[in-house]
Subunit: 385 residues, 2 copies
């Protein structure tokens, strides 16, 4: 694969973009706490976030460079990033788990009449103990804590070419893996073993790690798309779906593929044809300036024109540093689509009550339209015998 | 492996234990939001938590059965659990992402003068948008939101025999994987490929998925224990450490193993001997009734008696549904050790500035002492040539 990480200029561009929006919003400093936001600003990449023991903080002032306020176990790795101001404490520390250090650092950075931005809206979480957050907010008064969801999401949702290259590379890993599904899946295979093999092959094809796999299998469709695999044995007439979020250099792909186990019914072929067509229609129609709900409408209209029943829920979403990002292709999301957004198109069809088929591609929106990042799914279901 | 999941009786026992502590603490309902707490109470197991798009809520009333308030995408899977009261909304929903449904459900469950418990202390996070939490708290006033960290942690930290069996099974997967490291690691191997092979073999040995891998390699020790692998080539004199949190049926193991690449120096052998001995001493000494900081003291004393310099940070922690749980073997943690706790012992030695060696075992504390869950690490470093 290409070079790991990003040059400091990439991070400076990101921080400058955040600071421009902070200025407009009247925010003096951003308080970031999640793996994704910390990685976005600093390049700090580790699977250690899997441990919920310790909070991590990165502060972005409206002028100047970010400051990392982190557990000392991370100082070596953060020290390799472009961030030079790194302040540490011995976490986990009962009674004061970084609170005093965070308060002191924010007090330096933000005047008494100032505002501290925290992403606290839709699709956000504050990854620190709630009690500590409330203490920090109290001790920093009269400084105000305000919602910075829009600042972060509007910047992160536009990917640089360097980011797009990394997502494309992750998609290629999954493409190669999906091409090898016939090696281990077919009539008589156990679904839990298929899931293990699927992850094994993702690693063999170059994934750094596999943060997400899901799937389903059933006669004439599957019941849901988030369950772990059980000991179910694949039989003739099943549809098998495998879905992955494989990670390469900190960036995700997120798409699925469907397979026919032997002979599946005509209703599955019709659903597949409707999904394939709806995806084609959406890819041809999507342009910057639309809003997210337009894409939902386009997909649903096409599915209905094909005589299919659109599945509920969202029919696609943003993609990048996390498996799913905003916006969401639902009837409710009015986020403007802009060039540089990496997105999934994920139309679903309800074949019968409790039987669905879901199709997924990864794309980047360009000024002139859609560019595929995943290899286009086959028009007809591949058959595993 | 043994049967998947748990019978409803296991969950009823857990809920009864939570409710007993809620009664003492004067808490009318618990609001749980994390993957671990939701899994603990309901058995709801999915990798879909990787998507940060949607919040999930499980409410435990002080009397009666839990109620799930969840995105509709989870209704099929939650419907297979023992929970019968499942309320759903179409997430993500701008403007009201489950807030009204959550408020209505809590208002039914908790009287106006009542108290709602939320884990908000050390090693906790509230996995929902902060803005929505503040809205929920405001709309439910005068009901009080209080810290329920102690309620949840004191119950979850004592594992049932069924849970211990699952953690032991996860440890056996890692044991089998560590035995196969000589197949792919040695002089000339690239560290990033070693990490991929390590994960591949964990899957081959039966892990459902691999949520955590870390490691390090360097001459006479490594620099840290949380970095991802780079293209570094292993050479004679390196110490290689591999660490994993492999998951089986929702439960983690978490231990590492060290290997000598060819000939390592005497200072490494001395560090290894000191770590091995300190672990032996701690395993022989640990008893219910001690506190967590006692174990830190025992490990440090033994290391110093061997002439070694104890590494900083915590020297072990709880283990189970997440890679790391409380308590922490630090000088500060006064949590009482009790029979049924599953723990890691993780002494580290600083061989030279920026050069460490870390040893780790997984254990369960019994009334009479320690039972190993991982196969004991070899007394001397295995040599890979």
């Amino acid at each position: 694969m290409a070079e790991r990480g990003f040059p400091p200029s990439e991070f400076r561009t990101r921080v400058t973009a955040l600071q421009a929006r902070m200025g407009v919003a009247g925010i003096d400093a951003l308080l970031l706490t999640t793996a994704a936001d910390v990685f976005y600003v600093t390049g700090f990449l580790t699977r250690f976030w899997e441990s919920p023991a310790r909070p991590w903080f990165v502060l972005v002032p409206v002028n100047g460079d970010p400051v990392a306020v982190i557990p000392s176990i991370g100082s070596e790795l953060m020290g390799q990033s472009w961030v030079s101001d790194i302040r540490t404490w011995d976490a986990p520390m009962p009674g004061d788990d970084g609170v005093s250090l965070l308060v002191a650092t924010l007090a330096e950075m933000v005047p008494q009449a100032g505002r501290i931005g925290v992403p606290m809206g839709l699709e956000t979480q504050v990854r620190m103990p709630l009690g500590d957050y409330l203490t920090v907010a109290d001790r920093l008064a009269p400084r105000a804590f305000v919602d910075a969801t829009d600042v972060v999401q509007r910047v992160r949702e536009i990917k640089s070419e360097a980011e797009i290259s990394k997502i494309r590379a992750a998609c290629r890993v999954a493409d190669a893996c999906f091409a090898r599904v016939p090696e281990y899946a077919g009539p008589g295979a156990r679904l839990d073993q298929v899931f293990r093999d699927f992850q094994r092959v993702l690693l063999e094809e170059g994934a750094d790690w596999v943060s997400y796999t899901a799937g389903g299998a059933g006669q004439g469709g599957y019941g849901d798309v988030i369950s772990p695999a059980g000991p179910q044995v694949l039989v003739d007439g099943d549809v098998l779906m495998l879905d992955t979020g494989a990670v390469l250099d900190g960036y995700f792909c997120d798409f699925d593929r469907n397979y026919a186990i032997g002979s599946v019914g005509d209703e599955v072929a019709r659903a597949q044809a409707a999904l394939f067509k709806a995806t084609e229609v959406a890819m041809a129609a999507m342009r910057p300036g639309m809003v997210a709900s337009d894409v939902h409408q386009i997909l649903c209209d096409s599915l209905r024109q094909s005589g299919a029943t659109p599945g509920g829920g969202r029919l696609g979403h943003g993609l990048g540093i996390t498996l799913t990002e905003w916006p969401s292709f639902t009837p409710h999301d009015q986020t403007e689509l802009r060039a540089g957004m990496v997105l999934t198109l994920e139309p679903g069809v309800e074949i019968a009550p409790g039987r669905i088929l879901v199709h997924e591609e990864n794309i980047v929106l360009r000024e002139r339209g859609v560019e595929l990042l995943s290899a286009r799914a086959p028009e007809q279901l591949p058959v595993l015998r």
